[in-house]
Each structure stands twice: as structure tokens, then as C-alpha cells.
Symmetry: C2
Subunit: 235 residues, 2 copies
Amino acid sequence: MAKAMARTAADTTDTTSPQGRIRRENVERILKAAERVFAEAGFAGATMADIAERAGLPKANLHYYFGTKDELYRAVLDNILRMWLAPIDSFTPDADPSVALTAYVIAKMEASRTRPHASKVFANEILHGGNQVERFLAEDLKSLVDAKAGVIDGWVAAGRMAPVDARQFLFMIWAVTQHYADFDVQIRKVLGRRSLTRQDFAAMTAEVLRMVLRAAGLPEPEIPITPTDSVPSNL
Amino acid sequence: MAKAMARTAADTTDTTSPQGRIRRENVERILKAAERVFAEAGFAGATMADIAERAGLPKANLHYYFGTKDELYRAVLDNILRMWLAPIDSFTPDADPSVALTAYVIAKMEASRTRPHASKVFANEILHGGNQVERFLAEDLKSLVDAKAGVIDGWVAAGRMAPVDARQFLFMIWAVTQHYADFDVQIRKVLGRRSLTRQDFAAMTAEVLRMVLRAAGLPEPEIPITPTDSVPSNL
DNA sequence: GGAAAAGCTGACTGTTCGGTCAAGAACTGA
DNA sequence: TCAGTTCTTGACCGAACAGTCAGCTTTTCC
């Protein structure tokens, strides 16, 4: 109950405050370890001891920075949600549908490749009722989808892409791209691969893109996809 | 350690044996309750007490039929896996791609509608490493996918559908259709619906089908989809 | 250099949960 | 009817776990 206790999850957001170097570093280490453990074991299956071990810190230290397991979990989720919304910015009324869709699919596939744990934590949360993200879904995400569905409807009305139910179309993109992170085990086993390389992802991305563009009634790109290694990460 | 203890999960499979009526009924009740609780809470988050309460039986009774929580979980998974493979039977070399794909997508969407808990339990298992289904994935499912990919490749080679990577195409169908069970919370919140009715599912199925057929370069169906209520369930 | 603040942590606690057990009730078949 | 089998269940146990805390060290800032 020391005064320091008051500085917890919420402060993670505040990257401008002059919080100590030590605090910042440790919070980051803990969040990184927690994201991984929560992804692998789910909220209930994860233990503070596991997370502590992965972070290389004693368990009591976690409780110093994050009062409770719940608080730590919410901090991990916050981190993930903030990242979730960004890449769809490419959807604007004036944008070329092909270009916007291509950029979006590539960004989502890159997210699945580079931050699979984040995707899994989110999937796990939704799967088990999403109580922790109810507000996010019903407000932030809904607003975004409403807006972007409007953009897509505009594209359709202008004859720039085939008629689709904009919301279902977005669901399809999410489902397919996130599948490569969330169901990686299944994909690897079915393909008989031990792991999915960057090359694998490049090929899968190209194929997903092809199918998505076809579903939108758009011509397939001539240029092959070259994945970059630069994906902004706030973790 | 009574002799009866030996009759556990494995017997669930054997529906022909003249096992007692009471046993059969209770095993079924427990499996049904367990599927639901495991779906809602995951393996670690589910408690035997929760399952017992949902089944309307004392906890010790569960341990009489299923020795351990692990054993019960495996029985639930077994039940689900058996169901997983069936609907893709419509993929045969001589079948019409449009008809086969339509039947498959409808079957998968119906599974998501009528057995969402099963889908969630499976998703949860894969999400957390799939240790319990490793053999299923690497053997049964891989064989099936290899075979059906061959069928699809044949369709493509015969010019009966657009060129696709058969395996990625199957992943897409799985991802999209299962998404409606696994991510139902997200879908409901984004659409602003309290629940998804049969009519909602009919509309979503039609849209998914349209996108899948387009992705396969096939003409869209003239006839609207009319969902049936008859989905075989072995639970 | 020194005092206050921030950070650290081993040892501990209360609770929850999977699993056990022994004694009895209900069912079965001859 | 009766013996054997199957089924039932409250009470209990040990392990695992989240969370606490008091006393300590390190850092910060004047």
C-alpha cells in the first residue's frame, strides 16, 4: 500500500510522464513476458510465477508494479487494443480500393507474423466472452467499423468494387488474417512444417490478398508482394 | 479405484455396447455441460465444480465417470474432432465445384450456429498449443487436407475454377466460417445486436458464400440460401 | 553526504481447486 | 427376495496459486 502502488496499469499509457527509467524498463519487461504467457496459457492458465520467471524478476516485484493479475492483464490488453485500430486508416473515400485493401491485408498479415502473441491474447479474450473489452468493442471498434463500412459502401456505389456487405467483408479479412496467428499450430501441422518462415508468410499473404481482391471483384495485382521487416511495435 | 473406474472416456465412443442406461445418460449430461463450460472458460478456467453444477450432479459424481479433469476434457475434444471432418465429404473429383463449395460453406456455418461451444473449445485448444490434438492435426486432418487439396487442384487444372492455393483456400473457409462462432461476441457488439438469430445467420451465410465463390472465380448462385434446422449432432 | 523516495524480495497466508474415500442407496438379474 | 454390481455423495486433503508485508537496498535530489 505504499504510495508507489498508485502508479500502475494506467501509467503504462502515459509515455510522456517523467517516470523513472527503472520503472519504465521493468514495466516493459513484465508486459512483454505477460503477453507471451497469457497468449500461451490464457488468463486463467497463466500464473504470476510463470510471468515472473519469463520476465526474470521475482513474483513480488510484479505485484509492486501491477497490483493484481487482473490489472496486469488489462494493461496487456490495452497495449494490444491500441495497436488493433491503426492499420485500417488506409480506408478513405478517395483511396483506390485495390491499394487500400492491399495495404490493409499486408499490414494485418504482418501483425500476425510479428506479434502472434498479441493476436492470441485478443482472440482468447473474445473467445471467453470479452468482458474486459466490451466497451472497446461496442464503442471504439463499432464506430470505426461504421465509418469504414461507409467508405466501402461508397466504393461500391461508385462502381469501384463489386457489391459486398461491407461489415461482413471486414469480418472476413479479420478472420483470415488473424487465423494465421491464432491457428498457427493447425496450419503448421497440416502443412507439415515445423515453423512458418518469413517466406512462408510472404506466400500466404500473396494468396490471401489474391482471394480477398477477388472477393471484392478487383483485378489481381501484377506486382508480387515483398514483405518488409518494419512493423511499428509499441511494446 | 473400483472396477467401474476403468470405464471412462473411451467408452463414450462405443455407442453400441449395452452399457447401462444411467451411465449413458449421465455421461451425456456431463459431456454437454463440460463442452459449454470449457468453451466459456477454457480448460484452465473451467472448474469441475462449475461443470458439476451445470450438469446438475455432485462433483464427486463427475470423478466417478471421468477419473480426472484431463480425461473429461479429452472426451469432450474427441466428440468434437469426430464431427470436424465430416462435411468436407462433398469434395470429390466429379462434383461440381460450385455445388460442393456451397454445401461445405453452409454446413460449416450451420455448425457455427448450432454448436458454437464445440467450435470454441477447439479454437481454444489450438490457440494454446494444441497439445491434446497434435496427432489429430498431423495425421487425420493432414491426410484429409492433402486429399481434398488434390481434388481442388484437379478442379483448377480442369479449368473448372480459378487458380488458388488449395490449402490456403481451405484455411480461408475455415477461418471465415468458424469466426462466426469463435468471435460471436465481437460480431454482435460491432453490429450492435444482442444476439444473432437464424435470419442473421442466413444472411451472413449468403454473404460468406458469395465471397468464397468469388474468391474461387465461380459464378454467384441465383437461388437464395435457405438454412435448414436439421444438423446432425452426436452430442 | 544525507534524507527521502523508489525499488526489491523472501517468507508468509488464505483460498480455491482437483481429486479421494468410505459408507450407503439404488438397480439388476436369477 | 437377495446378493452382487453400479451408482451416489458429503466430507475431507494436499497442492497450487494470488496476493501481502516488513525489512532491506538502491536511486534521486538537494
